[in-house]
């Protein structure tokens, strides 16, 4: 009797499963395509801060565009999929967005594994993709080697360019103060390998001296006292930092506690935010941070400032990370679509390859691997210095700078 009732339950369960799948198929196939709208997809880690801020920026751009009449007279609708940074979810999500939701472009993509996994699908569907992250150089190599991947555009620079984010402002400070001895501290991760070799070459070329090199054990380094002490004992005058996983928060705190006699200039992927002062409890004074962009301060571009104001008004805080980059991406797509009168991948890719795009963060021109060109004429990051009291000053690049670098008082010790 027990076996009978069990069989019964299984049959019911099986019927339910099959019915659910069938029903879902019917619902999905019969979804009416609303006329007069066009759908774009957002694929990203929506439950993380990166994905959240990226989606908010895209939403802001889409609302503005819709208020102004849409793209080619059609209103834009956003469809999202949470890829959780995992390639298997990214593949499912990308296929769903393209096949079920019939999106004409996909934005987002934070993780390099997801970017790498969807490249073959991009080739298959010929859909333009605008990545905000996925900065691995491996993707550039793949895109430049395979003409079928040309619908991929990274609205960000690649990982090896991160060397210059930090090195350029450091060089300016070294020249300003007459310093020569550099130290490097970086994530013990593959992404920093090209960064470090680029920086070492630059240091050598410019006649500086490299006296210390240390690595960050990702997610496990809770005290940077040993690193900072070693750097101090090695005679470092400028310490350049690359940290992408949030470890640098401890570095900032320990630097403030120890006050070692060198300048700290850092790319801190997680710490490039106006709230960093509060998050560290006011322990970032005199430290230099690289920001992807910053729409505040006297030298800020009015259009960038307008984006910052609109974002803050809508969401209650200043945008961070690469928010303006992906915002630019939406407008770049709009421009390409309107210029060519077509939504298809080839039209958009042809246009962007040929013309680039002038956005609020600078001029987007793409390399052979479809990564953004970096420099003052293109997309330039900014270097900001925290001043006592929690004020942020832009010190680099010169065209946006609203202050000169102030050496920390303990430097002269």
């Amino acid at each position: 009797m027990k076996a009978l009732s069990r069989t019964y339950i299984i049959i019911i369960a099986a019927v339910i499963v099959i019915a659910a799948i069938g029903a879902a198929l019917v619902v999905m196939m019969s979804q009416p395509q609303a006329t007069g709208t066009v759908k774009i997809g957002f694929l990203g880690p929506l439950q993380t801060e990166f994905g959240d801020v990226g989606l908010k920026s895209v939403q802001l751009a889409v609302e503005e565009i819709n208020r102004a009449g849409g793209v080619l007279g059609r209103k834009i609708e956003i469809v999202t999929y949470d890829d959780g940074n995992a390639p298997d979810k990214g593949v499912s999500g990308f296929r769903k967005l393209v096949e079920e939701d019939k999106v004409v472009a996909v934005f987002g993509i934070h993780a390099s594994p997801v970017g790498l996994a969807i490249l073959p699908l991009i080739q298959q569907y010929k859909i333009p993709v605008f990545a905000m992250g996925a900065t691995s150089d491996v993707i550039d190599i793949n895109v430049s080697n395979n003409p079928g991947y040309r619908y991929w555009f990274r609205f960000n620079t690649n990982a090896s360019t991160h060397a210059l984010f930090v090195y350029y402002p450091a060089k300016m400070i070294a020249q300003q103060l007459g310093l020569k001895k550099f130290g490097l501290l970086y994530d013990n991760a593959p992404w920093t390998a090209p960064v470090v070799s680029t920086v070492k070459n630059a240091i050598k070329q410019d006649g500086f001296e490299l006296v210390y090199e240390g690595t960050i054990d990702i997610g496990k380094t809770t005290s940077f006292v040993p690193h900072l002490t070693k750097a101090r004992d090695s005679g470092v005058q400028l310490l350049l930092v690359w940290s992408a996983y949030g470890d640098a928060k401890f570095l900032q705190r320990d630097y403030d506690d120890l006050k070692p006699p060198f300048v700290l200039i850092q790319f801190d992927g997680v710490g490039m935010r106006p709230e960093q002062w509060n998050i560290t409890g006011g322990k970032t004074a005199y430290q230099v941070f690289v920001f992807f962009s910053y729409g505040r301060g006297a030298g800020a571009d009015p259009k960038l400032k307008a984006f910052y104001d609109a974002f803050k008004q809508k969401y209650g805080y200043d945008p961070l990370f690469y928010a303006p980059y992906i915002y630019d991406a939406v407008y770049a797509w709009k421009k390409a679509v309107e210029a060519t009168g077509r939504f298809d991948g080839d039209a958009v890719a042809d246009y962007l390859e040929k013309n680039g795009y002038q956005g609020i963060t600078g001029r987007w021109v793409f390399t052979k691997g479809h990564s953004a060109m970096y420099g003052e004429d293109y997309i330039a990051t900014m270097a900001l210095q925290w001043l006592p009291g929690g004020k942020l000053a832009v010190i680099w690049p010169p065209k946006y700078a609203d202050a000169r670098f102030q050496p920390p008082p303990w430097l002269s010790k």
Binding site: Q47, T48, E213, T221, S223, P226, K230, K259
Partner: protein, 277 residues
């Protein structure tokens, strides 16, 4: 070099403070409470919200109290499922995900700031000093409780042999609940003392949990001395490697310790060598 030593001790104490409650519950109740990291982070969020409305002197005790209540509820849930190891583990994970999900829904994925003790004392930030002092105080309280009080002895008896303890008239259920509430107290102390030093966002509870697990695995189960020793071992190897070995190979050292302990002495350095059934 003195700084390196000093900070290694403080970081070690902090690791221990994180692990002590987890270890207690695992030892006494044999409950694998994988929601422990979520409990730590929950107190931080409660405190950060309350601090917007009321002064810290009131807000912090209230948030600790609330956390204890939540801890008691959590104990009840886990106790029901405890006889079935699979269920109790899955349920603790489910509770951790529920806490994370609710925090994500309410606060979003953004980092929040919780500043309890700004400023520094003699070049060491006040928060570090608070963390170190609370760790030492917790360790002392733990030691005194386990060695001097009836509750502690009951807990030790239950940890040693539950059935025997029951025959001797010890109320195992109450003892287990007490161990859980005390663990929740440690979690909320850790939360207030330590989370301002780390990042605060909903997912970070899992990160705390990995520290806790590493300490428990290296040190051995249920042993306070083991927890202290393994916290110090992990902290010192990290710092000394960072100072003396610049190369990326240094990052292998904590991992190597962890894996070699797992492979060679899986019961932990100070574990009692008892295989659990």
């Amino acid at each position: 070099m003195l700084e390196v030593f000093l900070f290694s001790v403080i970081v070690g104490l902090v690791y221990m403070l994180m692990a002590i409650g987890f270890n207690l519950v695992l030892g006494v109740s044999r409950i694998v409470n994988l929601a422990y990291g979520a409990q730590i982070i929950l107190t931080s969020y409660i405190a950060s919200t309350l601090l917007n409305f009321i002064p810290a002197v009131v807000a912090l005790p209230i948030s600790v109290l609330l956390s204890l209540v939540i801890g008691a509820i959590l104990w009840l849930v886990l106790w029901i499922f405890r006889k079935d190891l699979i269920l109790s583990i899955v349920v603790s994970i489910a509770v951790a995900l529920l806490i994370e999900g609710v925090l994500l829904k309410i606060y979003g994925a953004r980092l929040i700031s919780l500043v309890i003790a700004p400023g520094d004392i003699m070049g060491i930030s006040a928060q570090w000093i608070i963390a170190a002092i609370s760790s030492i105080a917790s360790l002392l309280a733990f030691y005194l409780m386990m060695s001097r009080t009836m509750i502690g002895k009951r807990m030790a008896a239950v940890a040693e042999n539950e059935d025997l303890a029951r025959y001797m008239g010890i109320n195992v259920r109450v003892t287990s609940m007490l161990s859980f509430i005390i663990a929740s107290l440690f979690a909320s102390i850790a939360s207030i003392a330590i989370t301002p030093l780390y990042a605060i966002y909903p997912h970070v509870g899992w990160y705390y949990l990995t520290i806790v697990l590493a300490v428990v695995i290296v040190g051995g189960l249920g042993s306070a001395m083991g927890a202290l020793a393994s916290s110090m071992i992990l902290s010192f190897t990290q710092s000394l490697a960072a100072y003396y070995i610049g190369s990326p190979a240094k990052d292998l050292i904590p991992l190597t310790i962890l894996i070699s302990v797992l492979l060679l002495r899986p019961e932990g350095i100070f574990g009692r060598g008892v295989r659990w059934a």
